[in-house]
Amino acid sequence: MGAQVTGSRGETVWGLVAEHAAAQDRRPSVADVCTVTVSCAQVTGTWVTAASGGAADFVMAVSDPVSEQLAELQLTLGEGPCHDIVAAAAPVLAGDLGDDESGRRWPAFTEAAGRLGVCAVFAFPLTIGVIRTGAMGLYRSSPGPLTRAQLGDSLLLADTATMLLLDGAGHSDGDGAANGAGLDGQAPDLAAHRAEVDQATGMLTLQLGVPTAEAFARLRAYAYAQDRRLADVAGDIVARRLRLHPDPDPAPDGRA
């Protein structure tokens, strides 16, 4: 396939997700992320689970039946790499489920995974600071760590899944701008986002009186509606040149 040498790896990876979705004649979703992750990270299968407030996480997308079983096993057993990332808020990379440490940490899960022919599981939290949208899991039927490039791609694809889940978890109050903002043809580019974006998100939780995930969605929606860079809008908020209000102006761009 034609190598895209321009732009960041994040843009390339997002391009693959968008391309895969377009080939299925649909908008990008975590299902596309799963498929692209299998090829980028050279694994056997992948799955994405979504957090649902206080209730148990649920399976959003899987690349194959074994992935679905692995996702559900961890939810029902309450143990496994995907279970552990909730507390750690960091990836859990189990390149060899047959080793002593994996057996000690997840006795029931490793046994069940072994019966499915699964040798390695890599779990990634779908988080932005305190915002937790779910988890992404990868498995391989042979043991061994991810290479650095595979790890980098997996993290970028986890970022993409995070943004897609945030958008999909949009509100039913007619705040349509928050849904899909920033992902129409754009790479989510979470790693490049600046401290100001996180600071502005924290400020907006109070300005708007909303939870962190919604504050972040509103920040992105505002930037999208104004056709401005997210980092620039965030910089204005942090510098107190801009405040957002709980009841958004119905036509903020009418006077822009």
Partner: protein, 241 residues
């Protein structure tokens, strides 16, 4: 140089097994002490994200200019070169002609810096990040100070990657991602606290850090509890853990 502070610093940086150890607080200690001990006016730590970028994990000051410098270094700058080569890199005078990193040099001068050193944070063959020392005046740091800067970076690298070994073994990649997510949580908390109390970001960070210290909690836990609390009250409700 303050030799008592120097020995205290090595003791403090080695003291990573305490219950309230926090990786971001720890890296801030590294940058604060680097400024206190060496003839640097600002210091920062960047960590290598496997996504292919350098990310700021701690800085002695949150000054926008400093942050801007780190951003630029994703394209060019001494820190990026240091990270790529695994060797210390010195820019002794950023005002001279024929700058190796023209965009970086221009931004550094605007931010009030004329010289910068970058020393690598290395784990065996892998470079996990770099310690940057910014100076208001021109001239290199000098071999003795540079050695101390490298020693501080080395001790910090070990501390950073051993953080969780008490609990279980983790790869360096897992620990670096945990550190980077902690950074995001702290930035979200800084924003909320700054908004609540009408503070600038530096002052908001100091308050979070002081409160964590005084209450013997991890900085990241304090930040998380505050951001997650429905009210904007500070101090936040006690940790659930």
């Amino acid at each position: 140089m303050d030799s008592e502070l120097l020995s205290d610093t090595f003791v403090d940086l080695a003291d990573t097994m305490v219950a309230d150890f926090d990786v971001i607080d720890f890296l801030h200690l590294l940058t604060d002490r680097s400024v206190a001990l060496l003839s640097a006016s600002a210091a920062g730590v960047v960590l290598a994200d496997p996504r292919g970028q350098l990310r700021v994990a701690a800085a002695s000051s949150q000054a926008a200019g400093l942050m801007e410098l780190f951003q630029i270094q994703n394209d060019q700058g001494p820190c990026l070169d240091c990270f790529r080569t695994g060797q210390p890199v010195t820019a002794a005078d950023l005002t001279g002609p024929d700058q190796q990193w023209p965009r970086f040099a221009a931004a550094a001068i605007t931010a009030g810096f004329r010289a910068v050193e970058a020393v690598p944070m290395r784990l065996r063959d892998e470079v996990i990040g770099a310690l940057n020392l910014f100076r208001a005046g021109p001239g290199p740091l000098g071999p003795a100070e540079l050695r101390i800067g490298q020693a501080l970076a080395d001790v910090a690298t070990i501390g950073l990657l051993q953080e969780r070994n008490v609990r279980r073994s983790e790869t360096a990649a897992e620990q670096l991602q945990a550190a980077l997510n902690s950074r995001v949580i702290i930035e979200q908390a800084k924003g909320k606290l700054a908004e609540r109390l009408g503070l600038d970001m530096d002052r908001a960070f100091s308050l979070l850090r002081e409160y964590a210290r005084n209450s013997h909690q991890r900085l990241t836990d304090v930040a998380r509890n505050f951001v997650d609390s429905a009210t904007g009250d500070f101090p936040p409700p006690a940790s659930r853990h």
